[in-house]
Symmetry: C2
Subunit: 230 residues, 2 copies
Amino acid sequence: MTTGVRRRMGVEERRQQLIDVALELFSHRSPDEVSIDEIAAAAGISRPLVYHYFPGKLSLYEAALQLASQDLAGRFTEPREGPLGARLLRVTRRFFAFVDDHGPGFSALMRGGPAVGSSTTNALVDGVRQVAFEQMLQHMALEGPVSPRLELLLRSWISHAESTALLWLSGRAIPREELEVQLVHDFAALAAVAATSDPLLADLLRRVLAEEPQDSPFVELIGRLAALAA
Amino acid sequence: MTTGVRRRMGVEERRQQLIDVALELFSHRSPDEVSIDEIAAAAGISRPLVYHYFPGKLSLYEAALQLASQDLAGRFTEPREGPLGARLLRVTRRFFAFVDDHGPGFSALMRGGPAVGSSTTNALVDGVRQVAFEQMLQHMALEGPVSPRLELLLRSWISHAESTALLWLSGRAIPREELEVQLVHDFAALAAVAATSDPLLADLLRRVLAEEPQDSPFVELIGRLAALAA
């Protein structure tokens, strides 16, 4: 937003303002389509002054992405209390709210393109995936080393959440709330498939299900599948 | 491979040789790590002569990727005969054989990096995904428009196959044959979840299952899940 009254800001304050302005613009249009001129105008400063704080668009983009990554990674933090299905659904909802807020920026980042694919942006995205993976592991409350099949299950479901969100953004033809629940159901379904090849995962699944209440999304899925089979 | 005897090649023949040599090198090491010098040495020609055929490494990389994309897209072609589960398993096996053959090149491409992320490489990758999607649709033998939930199911499973292959490549801790079957099982599981929200998908699923033989991977999964639940 352009402010009518210009006032002097400190260096950090100005940098933060430019990052906020950039993130706001990237949430409506792809970063490739947003010029430094527009960012300068929205911040109410001159184009050369933007370059005083960021040497180029890529460095501003990376700073904005760093802030957005911290925001997203923070949303994966969920207390280890209560049923697992409900915890996973809460995290999935916060993830989808983030995707909804940052639509075009998220799409551009995940689809790759001229402004992305730098080693910095790749490292930031991988960092968020790693936080998601470690949080999932913690909620599994497992002891001992992580089996390759459990790691594949968790990491591939995290990828699946990304691609589902990305596909949803191109058209939003399915209600967001439905997909949030579906992602949790997908996790349960993929876990069940993986468990058929891994006795440790099968034990884990039985242990989790035994503790789920009747209103659990996992229990709901079993009911829905039974209705489908009938 | 360096040939002891150098002979004159036509322009197209030489380009093709360089592409073949590059693909072979990229199947063992990431394209970022392969130099034009190495490609020249492996082709038995001088470095300046490589630049005579390709203006730079990116253009050779893109030509190699184009050939690899055609190869992969061709593997999705499967006659519309016999049970659907067996067809899907055959295609999945050919996909995994491709991934196995082109390991480092496939990883580098899908993970992004300095050599990739150009609009040409993105378009090639999206083109292969689109072929996979259209082939899947054809096998579903559906009439009328494609519902958003069916499209999401097919496209997100194609993404899931990519990420599963990518995760498998980093360590190969799980036998390839097991993951080929698991991917087909994952498809059935994700389809069942999606069908609980979509009556048309539920009809399709029932129709498919009614025609599957006892040795179908879909029927095998149902048996395995029943054993898991018992």
